[in-house]
Symmetry: C2
Subunit: 247 residues, 2 copies
Amino acid sequence: MERAVIVIALFHLMNLILLFPSDFTIPWRKVLLTGRRQAHVLEIHRASAGDALVVGVENGKVGQGRITRLTRDELEMDVVLEVDPPAKVPVVLCVAMMRPIVFKRVLQTAVTMGVEAVHVFHSKQVEKSFWQSTALKVDEVREQIILGLEQAKDTVLPEVRIHKRFKPFVEDVLPDLLEGRQGVVADPSGGALKVTAKPKVLIIGPEGGFIPYELERFQSVGCEVIGLGPRILKVETAVSALLSRFS
Amino acid sequence: MERAVIVIALFHLMNLILLFPSDFTIPWRKVLLTGRRQAHVLEIHRASAGDALVVGVENGKVGQGRITRLTRDELEMDVVLEVDPPAKVPVVLCVAMMRPIVFKRVLQTAVTMGVEAVHVFHSKQVEKSFWQSTALKVDEVREQIILGLEQAKDTVLPEVRIHKRFKPFVEDVLPDLLEGRQGVVADPSGGALKVTAKPKVLIIGPEGGFIPYELERFQSVGCEVIGLGPRILKVETAVSALLSRFS
């Protein structure tokens, strides 16, 4: 486990160290960190006492942490929190469940790109076994969200919701999400999008695509089906391409 | 090795089977396949004699292959090549070298999204050890290109060039690439882009960013520096986001 922690740390930039209320020894002024974040600052940033790092507090402001003590086990910083985190982009991302390792990357990417919320749902061409994955556990999801926020220098945890059945998602959840938003389903069968300034609900299917019944259900609640051109993209590519184009 | 082949096959869609001149037993009409592609059709597509698959010939047309024989070791198809592959997007992608595993993904993604060429170059904040990677070998690069084409249903292999020194790349290679194209460097220091209809050269730095000297060199040959907003994206996310926005 300790090894896994270091591997994550090595391949992750941590442009911001996300702080939680429990990290503070003096509220909003002094923190004591151990574990992954402390190891990262020691091994990757190779920082030492006196250095300043970008920090942010969960769902709060961004600022600076000045290292007062850094040992093999502990990191102590004086913290000043000054500015608001970057605004979220006005997009709710709904994506069919995918291979767990891809799910982790997609979740992280969506959080990095600043979506307001992520909904993961079942669809006919999703392998049932994907739903057994530990990647869907609350702690694992939270870990990916945090990695995404650290990458983006953001602090605000988006909502992530899991819907293991298609119909209740489309009939009971999606209509609420679509309040005041334009619903857009990416599918090879679709045409070009009439882009509006409205916030969006972006819906991306499994690699095998949506079945006609599913597309009908999306349309019946007011979504438009758009194509992404003749090239078939991997889900992770489609997510960043769509978010870039429509946000 | 055989195991590795199957793993690639499992996690790869192969929306088109790319054929090479040497696969043909009767030119442009009949092919005999063994190895990765045959294994994929057998194990993943679970196809059988009579089934039709999307095929395309290297740098040529796309069409249909009808299976005439499929055994544990061999796949024989009657091929009809009818339509042109999707047009490339008018973008040359230049990207600083990155961790080899990321390089593979980025290369595949760029090919899937249809860039005309990929240039990989050195930059101050690129770890020198990355250049030792086997991922840069001709055969490995070709493998990623083929996977990207198969994903996109494309057949045309883009040029991929490797530049292990920054200055010769910017001074000797880049000016030629910029003939008739708008050069765009993505960097946090940049502003908004004045989008023109011109074909683009998109330049993306290492995760640590370009140093000021490098940005100056790019500007001295006519490139504009643009920002991608306050969020810092991973290289692979930046590539698909930029390609989506500017192509």
